[in-house]
């Protein structure tokens, strides 16, 4: 069966092969453009995130998918669930806003804590940092889908699985004519 796949490729002339490669490129580009489009529409640099820990149970569990928005006109309020990144670390953290200080000119600083944690997040912030500001925020949670994010977690924990899935998809698109 593998041979019949490569037979197809050998019989393609230069232009047909170029078209196969471009078709593959267009599928990847479409996914990329949809993601960038979502980034622009929601105003968040990462409009869809996966909850990685159980620190927000029972509201969110590990593996839930969250939809975020980050509009500059909407102020952060106590009680809202925000996703933020600590300076210097890549992992987004999903926790609830506990305390908030706001100045007249609109600058805010706030403190967060996971619902399922016993202490606030000061231990997670950067060295010497006691409060978060608007620029640390990736977005505010607007909606969620349970369990869907487990696929992403598996793919990150077992990189060989991710590689195998992507390789199979790529080969299928490159070889299959029309």
């Amino acid at each position: 069966m593998l041979e019949s796949l490569f037979d197809d490729v050998r019989r393609m002339n230069k232009r047909q092969f170029m078209y196969q490669v471009l078709s593959f490129g267009m599928i990847v580009s479409s996914a990329l453009m949809i993601w960038k489009g979502l980034m622009v529409v929601t105003g968040s640099e990462s409009p869809i995130v996966v909850v990685l820990s159980g620190s927000m149970e029972p509201a969110f569990h590990r593996g839930d998918l969250l939809f975020l928005t980050n509009y500059p006109e909407e102020p952060v309020r106590v009680g809202e669930i925000v996703v933020f990144k600590v300076e210097g670390r890549d992992i987004p953290i999903v926790h609830r806003v506990l305390k908030l200080h706001e100045k007249n000119n609109g600058t805010v600083k706030f403190l967060t804590k996971g619902d399922n944690n016993s202490v606030d997040d000061r231990g997670l912030y950067a060295q010497g940092q006691l409060w978060l500001t608007k620029k640390d925020v990736v977005g505010r949670a607007r909606g969620f889908l349970p369990y869907v994010g487990m696929v992403t977690i598996y793919m990150n924990e077992y990189p060989k699985f991710k590689f195998a899935v992507l390789a199979c998809l790529a080969i299928y698109v490159l070889v299959h004519r029309e």
Binding site: Y19, L22, M26, M33, K36, E178
Partner: protein, 184 residues
């Protein structure tokens, strides 16, 4: 390309593969026996549109990498909208301009240049192969002939395309369109 095309062996029950195999055989006949020169303009147009779309996407990726999100917002909006507009243009191009044409061949006869376009389609789960050949020459004549036959006429029991039968069929159509006999 090799002088004798290796007989392609395909799964005779796969409609799409069978159509592609017969299309390829017809292309061989037009460029081989009938000595026409293949014109790639139509296919190149499609390749260009695809390459442009992928280029726009890569540009957006690069720009966003160099200037992280909030600064790249304007460039991203432009790239995303132009990408989807290009996708729309591509769809229109394949639906209306290409229309299932798989080979365009030019031929010089005396001081006349004739352009032959062959297009084909198969309906899902149907074994009938529908072929339409259109001939346009510089005198302004346009003639069209179509043939609908079951794949069983062209593909033998092993799944190999029988080049001779395809060649006879196409040559017959070629002569009937080349002669002054009016169609319809």
């Amino acid at each position: 390309m090799s002088e004798t095309a290796e007989a392609a062996k395909i799964n005779k029950w796969d409609g799409a593969a069978a159509k592609n195999a017969v299309d390829d055989a017809i292309r061989e006949v037009m460029t081989g026996d009938l000595k026409c020169k293949e014109s790639f303009a139509l296919i190149d147009g499609r390749l260009f549109l695809c390459a442009l779309a992928v280029g726009v996407a890569l540009y957006a990726l690069l720009w966003d990498y160099l200037y992280p999100f909030p600064q790249s917002r304007l460039v991203l909006i432009i790239c995303v909208s132009s990408y989807f507009i290009l996708m729309g243009i591509l769809t229109l191009y394949t639906t209306f301009k290409e229309k299932g044409i798989f080979v365009v061949a030019k031929e010089k006869v005396g001081n006349n240049t004739r352009v032959w376009e062959a297009s084909s389609y198969v309906k899902k789960h149907d074994d009938k192969y529908n072929l339409v050949i259109v001939m346009r020459d510089t005198n302004g004549n346009t003639r069209e002939a179509s043939v609908t036959k079951s794949f069983a006429n062209f593909i033998d029991v092993n799944g190999t395309v029988v080049q001779n039968i395809v060649s006879n069929e196409i040559t017959k159509l070629y002569h009937s369109l080349s002669s002054e006999k009016k169609e319809k």
